[in-house]
Amino acid sequence: MKRFQIGEFSFHSINYIVYTLFMLLCIYPFYYILINSISSPDAIIDGVYFFPKGFTLDTYIQLFQSDNIINAFIVSASRAVIGTVVTVIACAFFSYLITKREMFARKFVYRFVIITMYLNAGLIPWYITMRGLGLKDNYLLYILPTIISAYFIILIKTYMESLPIVLEESAMMDGAGYLRLFSHIILPVCMPILATVAVFHAVNQWNSWTDNYFLVSNPKLQTLQLILLNYLRQAESMASDANRQLITSAAGITGFRVSSASVRLAITMIVTLPIMMVYPFMQRYFVKGIMMGAVKG
């Protein structure tokens, strides 16, 4: 009995240690970047590991005074919001239509959309098509191509099919059309799955940068992600890091009196924070995917 308990104890101890270490591995980097981004440039050079040293928000203040950072923030945030609203509504409505068995050519329409999961034309054909559609240097490039996603359709359709038919039938008797049924009956009860899809897509949108990189050169349409990448590339090319002098960033932010390291840290934080803020919702909705007695309620 005693040996058994020792075994139990060590099993749990090892488990706690291993998981805690991995948690630290996942969280500490972000904490490290946060405390460094609000420390003074001199302290950063010495090393800031646990708490901010020489607290200052100068970098953030300067960044938010520069037009291109604010502009990029607006571009990234707006594509996340607009893109998500459009995609969720479109995918939800399409899924709703697909669940209607009486639809003409239903199977064909469904397969036509789902098969795109396995079709990948490749970079160059995609690039030429987008250019041909006039989406080069066009804000709509961030919104239109991802309106319909096969993966989201599958998620939403599966959820809708689990709903009791009774829900709709009573409304149908009242002579409501499909649009009304969708917006008044189906949409409200699908909120758990739509929230999941929305958070997924918002994160995807916020994280996107390849479309920007390949097709948008207009500085007014740059995303935060690409600006961050450019800063990192710049830092990398000055890889003779030994001379850590204060530099004036060449990327268009003039009159900067903070070190390039601080700028990188602060931008990284600006790009990370929104993810961290929507993140708790993601967890909640991911687990809560199951319909809860909508008929009763």
Partner: protein, 307 residues
């Protein structure tokens, strides 16, 4: 009664086309953004030059597919990197299951929850951010070098991200850091789906923890593991573009270049649209063939298809 039924049938018929027409705009969107690019495959058979319309470009036949053979030295190197990193990724897949199994053994619910929330976070940041994090930790004035230097363990900075000898392992490690917590969730769901009575019975029989894991949990999640493994196999050629693009640097160029990056380099940097398209076609064809092969295999072994 019969009248009501008839009315319903008429209602359904009149709505058949209505529903269809409502779906058409979405089908058109899908056609434009997912099918039209496929027509671009035709560029692989012409000497396409940007700016010159297709009817004026000379027909090239299979020249660009033959070019792959002529470029075999480059292509071989690229495929080697692609396959090695894919195989390393495959070798790590049991870790996802192990992560879920041992987490499931933890008693504290809140601890489990905290582990899940924190370890899935890296999955939701972009590759640019992943690069930012690793850059700030591994560059010459980054965290690692500062700490090692502080303790006097090194005299000159180490450059992990610029070390050609270990780049395959470093990249696999990064993939695991980003995806381990998230990848484990599907196994946690699979474990939750195992019949609880089996565990109770095992307990009555006096089975220890590891026996229970080995005889009940592992077989319970094996189907999930199997399906994911097969899907990974069919995706072997596509390890993605973003990761290798952001971590690419001249020091590791020969070992980090994967097929997706090569396609980009040939097409975008060398402007060889036709050759790049030919590469893309070959990749898609091979991937789909792999997917169906693997699917058939799954059908034969489990009597159930995976797609």
């Amino acid at each position: 009664m019969i009248q009501a039924e008839r009315r319903q049938v008429r209602f359904r018929l009149s709505n058949r086309m209505k529903l269809f027409w409502m779906a058409v705009p979405f089908v058109i969107i899908v056609f434009i953004f997912n099918y039209i690019p496929l027509f671009g495959w035709i560029y692989a058979f012409f000497d396409y030059k940007p700016g010159v319309p297709l009817w004026k470009t000379p027909f090239a036949g299979l020249d660009y597919f033959k070019l792959m053979y002529d470029e075999r030295k480059d292509l071989f190197n690229v495929l080697r990197n692609t396959m090695i990193m894919s195989v390393l990724g495959l070798l790590c897949t049991p870790l996802f299951a192990a992560f879920a199994i041992f987490l499931n053994e933890m008693r504290s619910k809140s601890f489990k929850k905290i582990v899940q929330i924190t370890t899935t976070l890296p999955n939701f940041i972009s590759w640019v951010l992943v690069y930012a994090v690793f850059f700030m930790f591994f560059s010459s004035d980054g965290f690692i070098n500062k700490v090692l230097f502080h303790f006097g363990w090194i005299d000159s900075p180490t450059n992990v991200l610029g070390n050609n000898d270990i780049v395959w392992y470093v990249q696999t490690g990064i993939v695991m850091w980003k995806g381990l917590g998230w990848g484990a969730i599907i196994y946690l769901a699979a474990i939750a789906g195992i019949d609880q009575e089996q565990y109770d019975a095992a307990k009555v029989d006096g089975a220890g923890r590891f026996r229970t894991i080995w005889n009940i949990t592992v077989p319970g999640i094996l189907p999930t593991f199997f399906v994911l493994l097969l899907l990974d196999v069919s995706n072997m050629l596509s390890n993605g573009f973003d990761q290798y693009f952001v971590f690419y640097n001249p020091l590791v160029a020969t070992h980090i270049e994967v097929l997706d990056y090569y396609t980009y380099r040939v097409g975008m940097l060398n402007s060889d649209f036709s050759y790049s398209t030919a590469l893309g076609i070959s990749k898609t064809v091979i991937s789909i063939t792999l997917l169906f092969t693997v699917n058939n295999l799954a059908k034969r072994i489990r009597g159930e298809s995976i797609i």
